[in-house]
């Protein structure tokens, strides 16, 4: 229903400006929505940056239930987008199917890999960024207990968790890491009340720094941290501004750069299929320090984290990637 409406609207728009049809990219946001202040919002900002700089409108679609994925991607592809950017690991199967149907349409898939000649797959070394914020958590913790709240229990979220745990232990071998997953369906990425409840459960067990890798669910975690006077760590977007004073830092994942680059490359004709992996070295992941959390990060913390960052880039520290281990 929603997609037919979108289709009609788009068809009308394209008929009016036939020249733009060739260059207009499309983006498909995952469950959680483009204003989740986290993962999808980063993608949205990348697309907006493209629009600002080039003046080219992009078409978009927000997934509200998993059944619409394939149809939504197919509709975007059928309309002849310059590139269809599918944001989120859950789109892997749908992109694979549709990319075979439309061998002449370019697809960029974020967070998962599809090996086809017309698909560009962008993945991130989340474990490396998580390692750094894990160190920050352990160094900032007074109780020696830090927590992790994940969204849906899938390998990519486990990857965040393992990196976080290893980073925390690297900074302080005695640190205890608590872990909760919000759920086992995509709805786990948009359940802030449950996120808050899980965070409170961890606080009651002595946790004083919590890292949420859970999309919009994280909003509840950060609020709970603020209410309890504990520290929280944001994810994907720089979320430090949400609650200055209790947001220790954010693990940034430059989904915005990936989306922006896919769109500009498609426009310039430099878009290439294949797998791109963005880690600390490529600045695809990182740890955000800005005016909102400046006073929470001591020079000593910053120094040790910068050292570890360098060591990871040079390969002296190897952070376990749970998805590669299989």
């Amino acid at each position: 229903m929603k997609s037919t409406f979108l289709a009609a609207a788009l068809a009308a728009g394209l008929a009016a400006t036939p020249a733009m049809a060739q260059t207009a990219p499309a983006v498909l946001f995952d469950v959680g929505g483009k204003f989740d202040r986290s993962f999808n919002q980063a993608a949205y900002e990348g697309a907006e940056r493209f629009k600002r700089e080039t003046g080219v409108q992009y078409s978009e679609f927000e997934i509200t239930n998993t059944a619409e994925r394939e149809q939504a991607i197919r509709n975007l592809a059928r309309r002849g987008a310059s590139v269809v950017v599918a944001v989120g690991f859950s789109n892997r199967a749908a992109v694979e199917t549709v990319a075979k149907e439309f061998p002449n349409v370019r697809f960029t898939l974020i967070d998962s890999v599809v090996d086809l000649p017309n698909v560009q797959s962008v993945t991130f070394r989340e474990h490396e960024g998580s390692f750094l914020v894990g160190m920050a958590a352990a160094l900032a913790s007074r109780t020696g207990k830090v927590g992790f709240v994940g969204g849906m229990d899938v390998p990519i979220i486990r990857k965040f968790h393992r990196g976080f745990e290893e980073g925390a232990k690297h900074a302080n071998a005695q640190v205890e890491v608590f872990m909760n997953m919000t759920g086992t369906t995509p709805a786990a990425f948009r359940d802030p009340t449950r996120g808050a409840e899980l965070a409170r459960g961890q606080f009651d067990r002595g946790v004083d720094v919590v890292f949420a890798a859970a999309g919009a669910t994280g909003i509840g975690v950060y609020q709970a941290a603020k209410d309890a006077g504990r520290l929280a760590i944001g994810v994907d977007s720089n979320q430090n501004h949400l609650h200055p004073g209790t947001m220790l830092t954010s693990m940034t994942k430059r989904v915005d750069v990936a989306v922006y680059e896919a769109m500009t490359q498609a426009r310039a004709g430099t878009w290439r299929p294949g797998a791109r992996v963005l880690g600390l070295r490529e600045e695809g992941v990182g740890m955000a320090i800005d005016e909102h959390n400046r006073r929470l990060i001591t020079p000593e913390m910053e120094r040790r984290i910068a050292e570890a960052r360098q060591a990871i880039i040079e390969g002296r520290i190897v952070v376990t990637d749970v998805t590669a281990a299989r």
């Binding site: 929505g33 989740d36 086992t184 009340t193 409840e197 899980l198 067990r205 919009a216 509840g220």
Partner: protein
């Protein structure tokens, strides 16, 4: 002592999680006792959550949010009453229609008004119901057992929690100890008898739906402005239906219904804490198994332990005066 503190924190979590269930189940109790089946609890709660989130964001006052939530929820309840009581429509269809309407309408309005993709702006300070510290927490903190119970379990909740706790005996009293309550129950069992006594069946059912609307409104406000700090699309996540299950489980009686709600909330709170914890003799249980716990419990209890749940006789039957 550490285990005791953990247990208290588990119970406190149970209390927080049970509030929307209790409010909705009591709302359903009013409706069904009066003979109106209301599967629209979910929709009313969702619409109320949106109203609370919006009004609190605009006005900066959680209490104004509560007023707006109750108002919107009551309007929904009256629409249901208008369809089912005045026009004798199918109650399940009307309830479902209101649920669907609430899901769509809240998302569309939130998007149109706030442009944040279907959520309302994040609430700060007085726009939320903050946890209250009851008096004497400091004085009693030295007392063993009672001190921690008072500080962690009884104190430290928000105003709506205490309001809800006060509502439980009040509802019980109204339904079982007042004239209104007696007539309400009668109209759910045998509306003809009530009609013969010269009392308006429709007016009674309308009043029952009013009570239902008010309670659902408080539940929605609790979700958006106390538990969370904004309205989020589909944030009720099936709690309205769980409340209906609790109502059946509690056999349409206030106290057993509240206990059922507490049980569901306890299972929910427990699953958050069992994750990643090695249980003696079992080891670490997979997350999936633990997260299924509340549902397994629900099925087991509903299937095995409830016994025969007899609904109010006239529940779901529109009343038509004999001509």
């Amino acid at each position: 002592m550490e285990e005791f503190a953990q247990f208290l924190s588990l119970l406190a979590s149970t209390v927080r999680l049970s509030m929307p269930l209790i409010l909705c189940a009591l709302a359903g109790l009013f409706a069904e006792r009066a003979g109106v089946v209301d599967i629209g609890l979910e929709g009313k709660m969702l619409a109320a959550a949106f109203a609370a989130g919006s009004a609190a964001a605009v006005s900066g006052s959680a209490w104004l949010g509560l007023v707006a939530a109750v108002a919107v929820s009551v309007v929904f309840a009256l629409i249901h009453a208008f369809a089912c009581v005045t026009h004798k429509g199918n109650q399940v269809v009307s309830g479902m229609a209101l649920n669907v309407l609430a899901v769509g309408l809240t998302a569309v309005l939130a998007f149109a008004w706030f442009r944040e993709g279907g959520q309302t702006p994040a609430l700060q300070g007085a726009a939320r119901f903050a946890p209250l510290e009851l008096p004497f927490v400091q004085t009693l903190s030295g007392v063993p057992v009672l001190g921690p119970i008072y500080a962690r379990l009884i104190s430290g909740h928000n105003a709506l929690v205490y309001l809800t706790l006060a509502a439980i005996p009040l509802v019980s009293f109204v339904v079982f100890r007042t004239r209104f309550g007696l007539r309400l129950r009668a109209v759910g069992e045998n509306p003809h008898a009530v009609d013969t006594a010269g009392i308006s069946v429709a007016w009674l059912r309308y009043r029952a739906m009013l009570c239902c609307g008010v309670l659902c409104g408080v539940a929605g406000s609790y979700l958006a402005t106390a538990m969370a700090s904004a309205f989020q699309r589909e944030m009720t996540a099936g709690k309205g239906f769980l409340a209906l299950a609790a109502l059946i489980f509690g056999k349409w009686m206030p106290v057993p219904t509240v206990l059922a709600c507490l049980l569901f909330a306890f299972a929910d709170a427990l699953q958050g804490r069992l994750q990643g914890v090695a249980l003696p003799g079992i080891g670490v249980v997979p997350v999936q198994a633990i997260q299924a716990l509340p549902y397994i419990l629900t099925v087991l209890l509903l299937a095995g332990f409830v016994g025969k749940a007899v609904a109010p006789k006239a529940s779901g039957v529109p009343y038509a005066k004999e001509k």
